[in-house]
């Protein structure tokens, strides 16, 4: 019993610890949004800045934290943990860090609560600000968007470090002694990702192979023991946040005029309907899309939640900006709801939309979490575009992705068959392209000069989609072969012809056996001569060696 601690002090201390926990979560999550944080110093105290630090409160994050804490405070055996994980566009996920706010029994009865403890908690938050930029996950989170996103999850109770792989490292941020125990803040982080950090994630094509190699246990929801809470967020979102589904309903209707997007959303609806794993008291939340988080609670904006809701279905709540999600999610959407598979979706969206995405990936001005009224930064203009404008970009993005996937070098026709099963408007187009693949010169070099180029599909996406939908019942579509950037003046042949001609070059002469054998014999014969020459020059060599002495 802490009879030494006055009731006022005890109340203050509990309040400090509670707000410290909330601010800790804010700092950690904001450090993984992928953007630079900037807050202003203010010489006149506003009274609302806890610990005299300007740390913004993202409402959704506070909500999650409060939910996880459920009115309790960190105590012995009851730690507050923020788990940061990475999820690739193919659906693989991996835990990167666990930040733990723990309490142990070592009490410091002498310490003054209102003064020393408060200031030390403030110092600890500053240390947290510094340390969050120093673990490997920071650099990963700054580069998120195209191939992967960073998610966070808050839970309360026992710390679970098993998901970090072998050899994870721990860094202690700091401790603060209080009359009721010592608060400890630390981070355990995976290290075998460190080598993958910037390089592998920047190169797009090999990423599938690399991810698969590095995931020791395929972290797939139902099978992974350490993630009982990992889930197909769709259903769960539906259960926990009905507003998500509501907003999706709204979105779908807003897209009724444009078939491609409609088809996409149909895909995701199917996606949602996969049975959810059991979810306990945690929620996997992607750290993207501030705008979205706000809409989640308001479900006002019809457009944004659509694209986001679709993606978020898989991931929970995006905290960062919508654009990033749009970039990442189409990959998940188009590979339809499969269990454990990695759909060979191209990880790069079409070039034109890349610029779009990058623009959209930049964050809103942190101050305004309402997507409805972003004010200061120019980056928010993509958000503040009318819903029509917003409709434009992710829409195009999705459409382009869709078409490109069909036209690209797809290895598994199964995918396309599955797509057809999903009863989407372009199903005919999809199945037709299975045959297109057979005619793909890269797969089977055809004899005829009239070949289809898979490039064609992506470069003239609109054109081909238009023409192909017209000929839904043909076996295949003849497309004029016009590879990009080909010039007639330099080499009067097109890419396909060039490829075919030079596909089977003759053997190098030095590699052919006869000539090889001959030269070997010659070499052997010439050896004595060479030795004689060297012997003659022995004196020179010796002189050289002398100079080195």
């Amino acid at each position: 019993m802490d009879t030494d601690l006055s009731s006022q002090d005890r109340k203050d201390l509990d309040k400090f610890i509670k707000f410290f926990a909330l601010k800790t979560v804010q700092v950690i999550v904001q450090a993984r949004l992928g953007e630079k944080i900037c807050t202003r110093s203010s010489s006149s105290p506003t009274g609302s800045d806890w610990f005299n630090l300007a740390i913004k409160d993202i409402p959704e994050v506070t909500h999650e934290a409060k939910k996880a804490l459920a009115g309790q405070l960190p105590a012995v055996g009851r730690s507050m943990c923020v788990e940061i994980s990475l999820k690739t566009s193919e659906g693989d996920s991996m835990e990167l860090e666990i930040w733990c706010l723990e309490m142990n029994e070592k009490c410091d009865k002498e310490i003054k609560v209102s003064y020393t403890v408060y200031n030390r908690l403030s110092l600890l938050l500053k240390s947290l600000l510094a340390i969050t930029r120093v673990t490997p996950a920071y650099r990963l989170s700054r580069k998120q968007g195209h191939e992967y996103v960073i998610l966070y999850r808050i839970y309360f109770g026992e710390v679970q470090l098993s998901g970090l792989g072998e050899g994870f490292q721990t860094v202690r941020v700091g401790t603060v002694g209080t009359p009721v125990g010592t608060i400890t803040l630390s981070c355990a982080y995976r290290i075998n990702l460190a080598f993958m950090s910037t390089r592998q994630f920047e190169r797009t094509p090999p990423i599938m192979g690399i991810i698969i190699d590095h995931f020791v246990d395929r972290p797939y929801p139902s099978s992974s023991p350490m993630h009982p809470c990992n889930y197909r967020a769709g259903e769960d979102n539906g259960a926990v946040y009905p507003s998500v589904e509501d907003s999706q309903e709204v979105c779908t209707t807003s897209f009724s005029t444009s078939p491609p997007s409609q088809c996409v959303f149909t895909v995701t609806k199917a996606h949602f309907q996969t049975p959810p794993p059991v979810v306990t008291d945690t929620l996997k939340v992607p750290v993207m899309g501030l705008a979205f988080s706000h809409q989640l609670s308001s479900s006002r904006l019809s457009y944004q939640p659509a694209a986001l809701g679709v993606g978020s279905a898989d991931m929970g709540y995006p905290v960062l900006f919508a654009g990033g999600l749009n970039a990442a999610h189409p990959h998940q959407l188009i590979g339809p709801g499969k269990e454990g598979g990695v759909p060979p979706v191209p990880s790069q969206p079409a070039h034109g939309t890349q610029a779009d995405q990058e623009r959209m990936c930049t964050p809103l001005d942190g101050v305004h979490y309402s997507a409805a009224t972003p004010s200061s930064s120019e980056d928010t203009e993509t958000v503040s575009n009318s819903s029509e404008g917003k409709c434009g970009s992710p829409h195009d993005l999705l459409e382009t992705i869709f078409i490109r996937k069909v036209g690209a070098f797809v290895n598994k026709p199964i995918n396309q068959v599955t797509m057809a099963n999903l009863d989407i408007p372009f199903a005919m187009f999809a199945s037709k392209n299975v045959e297109l693949e057979d005619n793909d010169p890269m797969v089977n070099p055809p004899e005829s000069p009239e070949t289809e180029s898979p490039l064609q599909g992506s470069l003239h996406s609109e054109g081909s989609s238009g023409s192909s939908t017209g000929n839904t019942h043909d076996d295949f579509v003849m497309i004029d072969f016009k590879p990009a950037f080909s010039k007639d003046d330099i080499l009067p042949m097109d890419l396909g012809t060039f490829y075919r001609e030079f596909q089977n070059p003759p053997q190098l002469s030095s590699l052919s056996i006869d000539i090889g054998a001959q030269s070997m014999a010659e070499d052997l014969d010439s050896l004595p001569e060479k030795l004689a020459v060297h012997e003659k020059n022995v004196k020179e060599f010796d002189a050289f060696v002398e100079t080195l002495q």
Binding site: I37, S42, L53, Y115, L123, S127, Q549
Partner: protein, 233 residues
Amino acid sequence: PLSSRCCAPSGAAPAMNCRAEVLEVSVEGRQVEEAMLAVLHTVLLHRSTGKFHYKKEGTYSIGTVGTQDVDCDFIDFAYVRVSSEELDRALRKAVGEFKDALRSSGSDGMGQISLEFYQKKKSRWPFSDECIPWELWTIKVNVVNLANEQERQICREKVGEKLCEKIINIVEVMNRHEYLPKMPTQSEVDNVFDTSLKDVQPYLYKISYQITDSLGTSVTTTMRRLIKDTLAL
């Protein structure tokens, strides 16, 4: 506070109870500034508070300290600093002078920059005020020259990793919650804090630096010796 008139030069032996921390980094010439700023800002982040506003009866309220992320251009590294342009300017000026001194000294590129936190103790006339340091951070710098772009790229990453370690070290020291000056009354605040800035209030600090003399042996002699040793003739 690059040069202080108030007391014995900071090169003098540190007073009792002054804890001293030394950090060492090896960087390329163009990385010196960013590396120094990263370390100094991280220390000052922990050693700055909001502005004090004294009210009646000896109570005071504290302003709010904002923070911002800084990305380094020549190092794969990012750090957090206090949102105060004045403070940033002061540090940049000091680091700029240090960098210029390193470059122009023609030495092997070794030097050190020190950040000292001190308290002023007013003395009676004719004695000038005493400066009593209570914490001294020294960063030893070794400038390396790299031959090609590939090495530079590796250096970017390596130095980034090293700086991460340094930040962790700094935070460890800060976490020890060792001696800090007592919170001063209104009349004493200028003896403990630097109140000249308009948005934040760091503890009184001063920055000084030293450039190490180069060693005697020339490069060519060293290389010849190396080759001889390797060949063991």
